[in-house]
Amino acid sequence: MSKLSQKHLLGIKDITRDDIELIFETADTFKEVLNRPIRKVPSLRDVTIANIFFENSTRTRLSFELAEKRLSADVINFSASNSSVKKGETLLDTVNNILAMKVDMVVIRHASPGAPHYLARHINANIVNAGDGTHEHPTQALLDTYSIRERLGSVSGKKVAIIGDILHSRVALSNIFALQKMGAKVMVCGPPTLLPKFIGQLGVQVEFDVRKALQWCDVANVLRIQLERQQIKYFPSLREYSLYYGIDRKMLDELQKPVVLMHPGPINRGVEISSDAADSPHSIILDQVENGVAIRMAVLYLLAARP
């Protein structure tokens, strides 16, 4: 197997375990490339990629752009805040206009779930979902799972707790799919108001006590409280959330066992995680960022191989 089963990366739900393993193996070789004196290969030199971001992003956009440039692709960037979208252009028109300039691949982030799927049906280019609303964020889940594999040797059989705002998190959903496909056991933990009602149907355990979740897991993936997506109050105050669900160094030390700490960023220090925990040796937060470039190179490379 050296080919992905899909032409697009819209979500982890659509890809197979073989696909994920192929992406990981390819990412291994790109990681080696990124540690060379010359961190660039010419594979995608005849490919043009448009990064279309309708939502704010720092890490993901930089990571994609770097991955594209390391593969020698031509890159154009677009963000909704300073574009004609403000003047009333539709999504399809915007993207078709960009494609008319001969673009081969589109990396898209959009606030509406399903926006990348809609594009995949209507335009002829490889689409990579860089986050669609509260739905999926596949490359983040791939790099999270890859980072667990790197730190613990394998993913199969490992216990992973996803802690925080599950309701508004696309990272959580993609992670659940990816981890389960790779054979890990998954638990979600957060205040009842921030857990989707039927989340148990995905085959995950549900826990409301963060200490019990930490005691159970090998890996804790801590998510940010997404205040920008919350139109109503889900908990009394950030201080109260932090009191009940914030993770600090003392809690980790009391566990008497190693727990790998992850966070997809951006971190709200002192809310979901304290500085002494985020900067502790338990944390692989910066490894996640480093692996993000290698994973995105692998995804773009493998998708470009099937034009």
Binding site: K3, E25, T26, P37, V41, P42, S43, Y301
Partner: protein, 180 residues
């Protein structure tokens, strides 16, 4: 499917010896020379030659593996993409004499990619090419080997199969196969 033996284990052994002698003639003590085998199949031949050279010259010679997948010119032009392999060049090639080793030289495109890939690790003083089998009349690029085990006249429709013990075969053998 017809199979014709090009080199049996005895002849292959003699050929490897000769190639090693030629290398020693040109590189003396190998103080500034490194051997790099090309992934995926050239590495076994490179290991074989490297082992013999270290024994004959009683010196330590750096050995590396080079993967050219990301530098190939047929990406997006073939149905099945090639799976990348490991690059392992744990030494500096800047200013060194590099001997690239592969089992079969055919169109020359892999060697072109290898030269491109190699430059990403530094600027070698000199690059030479050693191949076990040189398939005549099939070159698509102006590339010629410096050391050749055996030159073979082949048709594009034929295939050369190298079986080495290091790859898990019983005996070292090289075959010419008619694909039909």
């Amino acid at each position: 499917m017809q199979k014709k033996l090009i080199l049996d284990s005895n002849l292959l052994d003699i050929t490897v010896s000769r190639l090693c002698q030629q290398l020693i003639e040109n590189h003396n003590t190998f103080s500034d020379t490194v051997i790099i085998g090309m992934q995926p199949r050239g590495i076994f031949l490179a290991e074989l030659i490297h082992k013999r050279l270290e024994k004959d010259t009683k010196s330590n010679i750096p050995l590396g593996y080079l993967d050219v997948t990301f530098h190939r010119d047929d990406f997006r032009r073939r149905d099945e993409p090639i799976l990348p392999r490991e690059n392992r060049i744990p030494f500096i090639i800047e200013g060194k004499n590099v001997v690239l080793v592969d089992d079969v030289l055919f169109t020359g495109r892999t060697v072109r990619a290898a030269m491109d890939a190699l430059i990403a690790f530094g600027r070698p003083e000199k690059v030479e090419l050693l191949v076990m089998i040189d398939r005549k009349y099939n070159r698509e690029l102006p590339i010629a080997p410096d050391y050749v085990g055996r030159t073979v006249n082949t048709l594009a429709s034929q295939r050369v199969l190298v079986e080495l013990q290091a790859q898990g075969h019983k005996q070292n053998k090289i075959w010419l196969i008619n694909k039909d």
